[in-house]
């Protein structure tokens, strides 16, 4: 089709070869400019109405929808008006401007470089000792200036990734500061618990479930850890630290909602699905003589996601 259009039409030129303002390139793009003008006027009017409407809506304490629809439609009308103006009522063009290659010429480069080098030479010649000293001082400034910038921000990690607030004998405590007693959790029940000293703590949070009424042995050496079917795991996911909050009773699994890792309760919260790489730490429990659920000891491994110094233990 475009073959039939013929070559591009050149602008008209006068005797001196200058482009004439009568060339089609200088004419407006619209065939019927009055029509476009009319449309544009209507659009501007509509925008005006929208903006006034916003003023009214605002003073009347109008809803978000009224506020937004008035000013938003006003802006759209304004935008379309400007677009019609720019597209149809302006000289059609196209116009062109020349472009030189970006790369500089050899002479330009040489002139710059030689200026730079000769002047620089005057400044530093036979003063290489000064240059070195200056460099050393500046480098040290750079390093020490970073100290307050970074080091002041927070404490060293220290042991904070290794320890929770759970200790030998800690009572299992609910978020509203109630100590958990035998019978508080039915079979199939689930409860988030904390040590008394850190209720609401993000790192100490622990999930207590009760799959059955008899003791559960998840791994050798953990024979006494889950008396009467009460079993507790760190609630901090070993993947990226979300709270592992969903207990699926039928399959006795814990689900982390963030990336759907599944942990098998009877297997000591071994991850069986999803990206979590390590089991949740298990909290050894005992039931004291008054019937309170308490920790035999703190967690025997760092809880939560991995970090460089954590070592290769699982």
């Amino acid at each position: 089709m475009s073959d039939e259009q013929g070559p591009p039409v050149a602008p008209e030129r006068d005797a001196e070869g200058l482009v004439s303002p009568d060339s089609p390139q200088f004419q407006v793009a619209a065939k019927h400019p009055q029509r476009v003008e009319r449309t544009t006027a209507v659009l501007f009017l509509a925008s005006l109405v929208g903006f006034v409407g916003f003023g009214i809506a605002y003073t009347q304490n109008g809803s978000t929808q009224w506020l937004g629809l008035t000013i938003g439609l006003g802006m759209l009308a304004f935008g379309f008006a400007m677009a019609a103006w720019g597209k149809f009522l302006m000289p059609r063009g196209p116009f062109e401007e020349p472009r030189a290659p970006m790369a500089t010429t050899k002479e330009e480069k040489e002139a710059f470089v030689s200026d730079f080098a000769t002047r620089g030479k005057v400044a530093v010649e036979r003063r290489s000792f000064l240059v070195k000293l200056m460099g050393a001082a500046a480098a040290i400034l750079g390093i020490v200036a970073a100290f307050p910038l970074i080091r002041s921000l927070g404490p060293l990690p220290g042991k904070s990734f290794y320890k929770t607030a759970w200790r030998k004998g800690s009572y299992l405590t609910t978020i509203d500061n109630r100590r958990v007693k035998v019978g508080d959790v039915e079979v199939g029940g689930v409860l988030t618990v904390f040590p008394e000293s850190d209720v609401g703590g993000a790192i100490s949070q622990t999930i207590l479930v009760r799959p059955q009424t008899t003791a559960i042995v998840t791994k050798p050496g953990r024979e006494s850890w889950a008396p009467q079917g009460y079993i507790a795991f760190s609630k901090v996911c070993t993947h990226a630290g979300c709270p592992v909050g969903l207990y699926e009773e039928q399959v006795q699994q814990l689900l982390c909602p963030c990336h759907q890792s599944l942990f098998d309760i009877y297997a000591g919260a071994e991850p069986i699905f999803g990206p979590a790489p390590r089991p949740l730490a298990q909290l050894p429990l005992f039931i004291d003589s008054s019937g309170y659920l308490r920790a035999q000891a703190g967690y025997d491994e760092p809880v939560g996601p991995g970090f460089w110094e954590r070592g290769g233990t699982t």
């Binding site: 929808q65 196209p94 790192i203 460089w308």
Partner: protein, 501 residues
């Protein structure tokens, strides 16, 4: 009045010296050049709406008893950050509109930057001399994503708090320095000592926006220096730029575009709910939010976290945690390769010449196929961020959905590459492909027969191509007209011919 003012200023700042040249700057007419403009204008909307929000938002994690306009949580303990966001939403007049506009604008900003990136990539707009501008652009994208993440983390709601928790774990996972980085930034092990929201705030409202403004100035400065690239339309050559001049045509059009972008953002803010934090509630570290997705531009990372197998590397006394691979290594590689791409291509093709004329994607089948395959990979990751939602919705097992995505991650790019390549090759053979066609009308005559005739012109358009006029010549034309008029007036140039008046 105006004349005097202009003269006064011009005599002191010499605007007319060189300013005339700026009026003549030529902007190509292709629609795809508007993508960068959308990004630019949504950034302006972000700045304006963001300033409004800072006047009311309280960046503090300290707890207060809520007695605001949102009655369902009356009397509960919430953080000041959360409470003040609710106040903006329910008590500040127009506050919800501005809040939602701000959030929408962030999504549009990053979205248009990504599409803009794709257009530059597929047309080869990154080639010499624009490699540096490509790198600046990539950094704009990175900063934009960071700023967006920090922004939606501020209200301290359940969804964003979960995101911050994951961010902590990602920082913590960095080999050697991770535990230090994380405790320094948060002021201790998670959730830190109350420093994180104030810190995110200052980074989000001051540091990153300034960095973006700086890079943006460099981006647009280089654009002026290089002048625009252009497609191979009639008259377009390596040594010119064809299009519309800055004043008045482009100015009018781009102003129109600013208003359209802003108008759409306002409408979205008015009718499309976004981030209803009052439904999520205050963040508590032990509370679970189920089936919540991060903002879309974090989706590929979320997806990567999900499809990553449960591996980690154990070394004597040390480890490289699982999240390091999808959440640190993958984005690290992604953005490094992105920034290096112009040089990779230069190395592979040996083509180191300056290019100001753009490629049609089909004319570079290998690049196009590669780009499609890579993009498809990230698209699959993005889809993988919805594994749980999909499993629920389609009634499939999570296991099945997850494995499907793990396989798709590998298979889709491998399939997309040859398909895209083949399509390019097919299109390459179509000689007229890509040129503007004259539309045809199918008409039915009274006897019931059908025939095609060329359609009437698009209103206001003629199908004839016009040869570009040199703007410098227009300057001489202005001079000629001034000389003819004898008194410096420049009538006769850029004038609407009389019969159209």
């Amino acid at each position: 009045m105006i004349d005097n003012l202009f003269n006064w200023i011009d005599d002191r700042l010499a605007i007319s010296r060189g300013g005339r040249h700026l009026l003549n700057k030529i902007f190509p007419d292709h629609w795809s050049f508007m993508l960068g403009e959308i990004a630019l204008y949504s950034f302006i909307v972000l700045l304006l709406t963001g300033i409004f929000l800072t006047l009311y938002f309280v960046p503090s994690e300290s707890s207060i008893v809520y007695h605001g306009a949102y009655l369902p949580i009356d009397g509960q303990h919430v953080s000041q950050a959360f409470a003040s966001t609710l106040d903006i939403t329910f008590s500040v007049r127009g506050g919800l509109l501005i809040r939602q506009m701000h959030h929408w604008a962030a999504n549009i900003f990053i979205g248009s930057a990504v599409v803009h990136l794709l257009r530059i990539f597929f047309t080869g707009g990154f080639r010499r001399p624009r490699e540096v501008n490509w790198i600046v652009g990539a950094n704009l994208l990175i900063l934009g994503i960071f700023n967006g993440f920090l922004g939606y983390s501020l209200p301290d709601d359940l969804v964003s708090g979960t995101g911050i928790r994951i961010a902590f774990s990602i920082l913590e996972s960095v080999p050697f320095a991770g535990s230090y980085l994380a405790t320094f930034l948060f002021g201790g092990n998670f959730p830190g000592n109350g420093a994180i929201i104030p810190r995110f705030f200052i980074i989000q409202v001051l540091i990153l926006p300034l960095a973006i403004l700086g890079l943006l100035s460099a981006h647009l400065g280089m654009l002026v220096r290089h002048k625009h690239t252009q497609f191979k339309t009639p008259g377009a050559r390596e040594d010119n730029v064809v299009g519309t001049p800055l004043w008045p045509t482009f100015m009018t059009k781009t102003l129109a575009f600013f208003f359209l972008t802003t108008g759409i953002t306002v409408l979205l803010g008015a009718v499309a709910q976004i981030n209803p934090i009052w439904q999520y509630g205050q963040y508590y570290p032990w509370k679970v939010s189920y089936a919540v997705q991060p903002d879309w531009y974090m989706g590929w990372l979320d997806g990567a976290l999900r499809v990553m197998p449960s591996w980690e590397i154990h070394l004597p006394g040390h480890m490289i945690p699982n999240v390091f691979f999808p959440a640190v290594l993958l984005p690290g590689i992604t953005f490094t390769v992105l920034m290096m791409y112009p040089f990779i291509e230069e190395r592979l093709t040996g083509n180191v010449a300056e290019h100001h004329l753009l490629d049609r994607p089909r004319d570079r089948p290998v690049r196009t196929a590669f780009g499609c395959a890579v993009f498809a990979f990230y698209f699959v990751l993005f889809g993988a961020s919805a594994t749980d939602v999909l499993a629920n919705y389609l009634n499939l097992s999570l296991n099945f959905v997850l494995w499907t995505f793990r396989i798709l991650c590998i298979v889709v790019p491998i399939v997309v590459f040859p398909v895209a390549y083949k399509i390019c090759k097919e299109l390459e053979g179509v000689p007229e492909g890509g040129k503007r066609k004259v539309h045809n009308l199918i008409v039915r005559d009274p006897a019931g027969g059908y025939s095609t005739i060329p359609a009437e012109e698009y209103p206001g358009y003629e199908s004839i191509e016009l040869e570009p006029v040199d703007v410098e010549k227009v300057e001489s034309l202005t001079a000629a007209a001034a000389a003819k008029n004898g008194d410096g007036r420049t009538e006769g140039v850029y004038e609407i011919p009389r019969e159209y008046r």
